[in-house]
Symmetry: C2
Subunit: 382 residues, 2 copies
C-alpha cells in the first residue's frame, strides 16, 4: 500500500479517524469540524474555535462567555514557574524556554497525574490560558520587565497583547492576532499533533503530550518556518534585491524558499490566502510596508518558475504569517512560540480524541544491520 | 497492506531501516547491532553498549576508556539546573521532574541549537552522563539531601549508585544496575524512541527529541509498567495470597497483569529471561526474598491459564526488572526514571540515525466529521 519512499515519513499513511479537521490538499480546502476556516477567521474569536474543536459544535452566547471567562481565570502562571523563567538565560531559545516552562507547569498542576476526562478538560483550559501567558511573559522577562497577569475581561487575543505590552490592545492588532490564532490552531495529523498522540497513547499525561508537541513544532520544517521565512525576507532586505537574490540563492545555489511548499497541499494553502490579505492590509497601515512587497515579489517569481510550477509549490501559512507578526512588532524569534500558543486548542482536542479510543502507537522498523555476531572479549578487539 | 484495526496503532507498519537492533518477536530474540543481548548483559559495561549503538562496533580497551572518561567528565549537571530541581515540589511525579530538568539542560548547553553531527555526538555524551546524574539526584533532593557530583574514575552504573548513596558502590549492586541498563537501552521502534524520531524529523534539536521520549516513556503502557508491576506485587503482599488474587482480580474482575504481555513478543521476552535470573540471585541474598517468589508464582499461574496461553502472554522486561530494582532498595516511583536513563543510548543513536537520512514524519488521518457546514452568527445559535 505504501511505497518504500513514503513510508519513511508515513506520508499518506492514515493513523485512524478524526472529527477535528479536513485538510484537502488537492483542493486547498480546510474545515474545522465542518466549518470553513475562511468563515471562522472572519467571524469567530479564538475561544469559539476552542469550543468547536473541544465539543464539536459552535457555542451559543452564554457558552462562549463561560469558556472565555474560564480560560482567562485559569491563565495565570504559578509564581514558582514565573520565578524559574526569571532564572533562565536571557539568550535561550524561546521554544526551549516554552517547552521547559510548560513542562514545569505540570509540577504545580493539581490535575497533572489525573487522566480522567473531567481532569483533562480542566487541564486543557488551564494550558490554553497559561501557554498564552508564558508566550507573552518571556519577551518581557528577557528584557528585564515584569510579567503581567491576565485581565479577566479580555479574550485570549486581547489578553496576549495586554500581557505582552501592558497596554490596552489596539483593536486592529487584537483582531489580527485573533485571526492568526484561529487559522493556526488545527491542521490534521501534522508532526507536532502526531507527536502529542504518540506520547498520550502510552497512557502518559496531557502535559507530557503538549511538551512533545512543542519540541516537535520547534523544527524549521514545521513551526520554525515562520521565523525562518522572516529571516529570509530580512536577508533580501530591499525590494530591488529580490530578483538577484532569487537567481543567486534559489536558482544557482539551490536553497529552498522558507514558507513555500507543503507536505499536504498541492494547491494554494487556504490559510495563506487569508493571511496574505491580512498581511497586505496591516503592511499598508504600517511604517514597514516593504516586507509585504518583498514577500509578494518573491512569491510571484516562484509562481512563474518551472521548478515551482511542476512541483505545485505555493506559499504556505508560515510565509504570510511572518509578515503579519513582524508588522505587529513581535520579536522574530517569538513567531514560533506564537504558533505553539495558537495550536494549543488543536493539540488538546487531539489528545482527548486519542484517549477516547486509544491504541498504543508503536510502529516497527526494518533491521538492516549485521546478524548473530560472535562475542569478542575486550582484550581481543582491535 | 495494513488493516483498519492495526493502522491505528501503526502495528507492523515499518517507518524505514535501522542498524540499531533486531527485535524478533516470534523467536524471542534481541540483537543490538548484531550482538545477542545475553552476551552483552553478561560481559559488557554500559559504555561498551553505548559505543556499539553509536558507532556500530564494540570499542577496544582504549576507545572504551576514552568514552567512559568523556561521559563521566560531562555528567555534572549545571548548578542552575540543580537549583531549579531544589525548587520543585518534593511530591512531584519523578518522570515529570526528569522531563522538566532535561528540558532545562538545553538552556545551559552550548551546543543546544547546533544540529551538526559533531555537536550531536557531544550532546549525546553529555545527556548520557547528565540523565544518570539527574536520576540519582532527585531521590536525594526530595529527601532534603544534597546531590553528589559524579566521580571521574567510575563507570556509569557505579557512578549512578555513588551519586544516589554517596558511598562506594557494592560490586554486586553495580553489576546488577549495569546489566539492567544494558538490557533496557535499545528496543527497535518502541513508542518513546519513535516519538524522539518524530520530533527530530522536523529539524528540532536533540534535547527536544529526548524530552519527547521521556514524556512518552512515562505512560503505564510503556516505561511506567515497571512501577505498576511492583505496585501490583505489593498489593498482593504475601505468597499465600497469589492464588486468590489471581482468581479475583484477573479472572473475575478482568484486570491485566502489569508486566505480562508485549506488543511485539509472541514468545518469551529474552530480556525477561536474563532479568529473572538476576532477580532470583539478588532476592536470595536479600532481606526481601518474598517479592521474587510472589512474581514467580503469579507468572506460573498465568503460564497455565488458557487466556494467557492462547494470547502468547509472557512476562516482559518490566516484570522482573521491578524485582531487581526493588531488591536494590530503589524507590518504587524511581523505576521509570531508571528506565529512561538506561534508554538514553538507544534514543540518542536513533536520533542521529534519523538525521542521517531524514524525512519529516507526518502521517495522515481520515476525517469523519461533518462537511461544509454553513456559518451561523453567534446570536442565532441555540
Amino acid at each position: 500500500m505504501t511505497t518504500e519512499a513514503n513510508k519513511k515519513g508515513l506520508a499518506g499513511v492514515s493513523i485512524g479517524d478524526s472529527r477535528l479537521s479536513l485538510v484537502d490538499g488537492a483542493e486547498g480546502k480546510l474545515l474545522y469540524s465542518g466549518y470553513r476556516i475562511e468563515d471562522l477567521a472572519a467571524n469567530a474569536i479564538y475561544e469559539e474555535v476552542v469550543h468547536l474543536l473541544w465539543k464539536q459544535r459552535l457555542p451559543n452566547t452564554q457558552e462562549l462567555e463561560s469558556l472565555r471567562a474560564e480560560i482567562a481565570r485559569m491563565a495565570e502562571v504559578p509564581n514558582a514557574v514565573i520565578g524559574q523563567l526569571m532564572q533562565y538565560p536571557v539568550d535561550a531559545n524561546p521554544m526551549a524556554v516554552l517547552r521547559t516552562a510548560v513542562s514545569a507547569l505540570a509540577l504545580y498542576d493539581p490535575d497533572a497525574e489525573d487522566n480522567s476526562l473531567s481532569a483533562n478538560w480542566r487541564k486543557a483550559s488551564r494550558l490554553t490560558g497559561q501557554i498564552t501567558a508564558l508566550t507573552a511573559a518571556w519577551p518581557r522577562i528577557r528584557k528585564g520587565l515584569k510579567p503581567i497577569a491576565p485581565r479577566q475581561d479580555f479574550n485570549i487575543a486581547q489578553n496576549f497583547l495586554y500581557m505582552l505590552t501592558g497596554e490596552e490592545p489596539d483593536s486592529a492588532a487584537a483582531d489580527a492576532i485573533n485571526a492568526y490564532m484561529v487559522l493556526l490552531t488545527e491542521h490534521g495529523m501534522n508532526a507536532s499533533t502526531f507527536s502529542s498522540r504518540v506520547t498520550i497513547s502510552t497512557g502518559a499525561d496531557m502535559h507530557s503530550a503538549i511538551v512533545s508537541a512543542i519540541g516537535t513544532l520547534k523544527g524549521p520544517a514545521h513551526g520554525g518556518a515562520n521565523t525562518e521565512a522572516m529571516k529570509m525576507f530580512m536577508e533580501i532586505g530591499e525590494l530591488d534585491r529580490v530578483g538577484d537574490w532569487f537567481r543567486q540563492e534559489i536558482k544557482e545555489k539551490g536553497r529552498r524558499i522558507m514558507g513555500i511548499g507543503h507536505r499536504v497541499y498541492r494547491a494554494v494553502d487556504p490559510r495563506a490566502t487569508v493571511l496574505r490579505e491580512r498581511a497586505e492590509a496591516l503592511a499598508r497601515n504600517s511604517d514597514t510596508p516593504k516586507w509585504f512587497d518583498i514577500a509578494e515579489m518573491l512569491a510571484n517569481m516562484a509562481r512563474q518558475d518551472p521548478y515551482f510550477i511542476e512541483r505545485n509549490l505555493y506559499p504556505n501559512v508560515d510565509y504570510y504569517s511572518a509578515i503579519v507578526l513582524y508588522t505587529l512588532k513581535l520579536d522574530v524569534d517569538m513567531f514560533t512560540p506564537l504558533f505553539a500558543m495558537s495550536r494549543i486548542a488543536g493539540w488538546t482536542a487531539h489528545i482527548v480524541e486519542q484517549m477516547s479510543d486509544n491504541r498504543l502507537i508503536r510502529p516497527s522498523v526494518d533491521y538492516v544491520g549485521p546478524m548473530d555476531l560472535p562475542w569478542v572479549a575486550l582484550p581481543d578487539r582491535n
